[in-house]
């Protein structure tokens, strides 16, 4: 089974993946464009997503080695830094077992949202700096011609608005991670 999906929020992606696994699948491949490959299985599997920025070769080997010792399978490390881990459900299904490390995880998610949010913001400025959303001549048109032109242009306008929309979504994920991070820190 192949499914296509795009996520900006890492926790939502993890949740969606586990919903697929609960239907009796295991994940075999994830490609960078958002194509997830699953295969039918009798065993129960769980997936956990970690976020680690670029790891040099030696660190990366150690990171993967420790997880593998615990029975986790490295499905993929995306170029964005998301690490996909899968393992057979054996009751020990978490990758973090204390408040400190769980908090550090949310701190990393905050950084992730911050950097990609900033990137989209810069991109938005570049796009919006010297272009209008709609063609200037549009507003001089009348009647049916105006409506036709408006309907024709609107999809392009929405496309142009995508980067700023992404800024909003990243800001939302940043805030969610921040709330969880500060809750963990207060209790710690």
């Amino acid at each position: 089974m192949k499914k296509f999906n795009v996520f900006i929020n890492i926790e939502k992606e993890e949740q969606w993946l586990n919903e697929q696994l609960q239907k009796g699948y295991r994940c075999t491949h994830i490609n960078s464009l958002g194509l997830y490959t699953f295969e039918k299985t009798d065993q129960k599997y769980v997936m956990r997503l970690d976020y680690q920025e670029y790891l040099p070769k030696e660190k990366r080997e150690e990171y993967i080695g420790i997880y593998e010792d615990f029975g986790w399978n490295y499905i993929k490390g995306s170029g964005l830094g998301i690490r996909y881990w899968q393992k057979e459900d054996d009751g020990q299904n978490e990758i973090f077992s204390d408040r400190q490390s769980q908090g550090n995880y949310y701190k990393r998610l905050m950084n992730y949202s911050l950097w990609f949010g900033m990137l989209c913001l810069v991109f938005s400025f570049m796009i919006y700096k010297d272009t209008r959303l709609y063609h200037a001549g549009l507003w001089d048109m009348n009647g049916a011609l105006f409506w036709k032109a408006l309907i024709f242009e609107t999809p392009f306008v929405l496309l142009k608005l995508l980067p700023i929309l992404m800024v909003g979504i990243f800001a939302g994920s940043y805030y969610k991670a921040y709330v969880k991070y500060s809750m963990l820190r207060e209790k710690g």
Partner: protein, 105 residues
């Protein structure tokens, strides 16, 4: 200001205590499980992050390899930290005991 890892969390405490003998990551987890009589079971990400953190601060260091696995051991600085924590905890323990005496009177 106090070091950001102090006072030591339960995880950090157990890892430093376990690494008084040289061990690789997974063996640290196993040793902690038996040291804590099964009450502390570290997860992979927690163990990796803690090893990273402790070696960044120079409290543990790699001392060799066993196959692909890196072996770590506590450093002198790490032992000093344990000594300090021991004193802090014995003081707290002594307060517990004082409390008991007062109740008897």
């Amino acid at each position: 200001m106090k070091h950001k890892l102090l006072p030591l969390s339960e995880t950090m405490h157990y890892i430093l205590l376990a690494l008084r003998e040289p061990l690789h990551g997974y063996a640290v987890m196993q040793k902690i499980e038996s040291m804590s009589e099964g009450s502390v079971s570290l997860a992979a990400g927690t163990l990796y992050g803690a090893i990273e953190n402790l070696s960044k601060h120079g409290w543990i260091e790699p001392v060799g390899h066993s196959g692909r696995r890196k072996i770590y051991k506590i450093t002198e600085e790490g032992s000093t930290i344990l000594k300090m924590e021991q004193e802090r905890l014995s003081h707290i323990l002594s307060l517990y005991e004082e409390g008991d005496v007062n109740e008897e009177v």
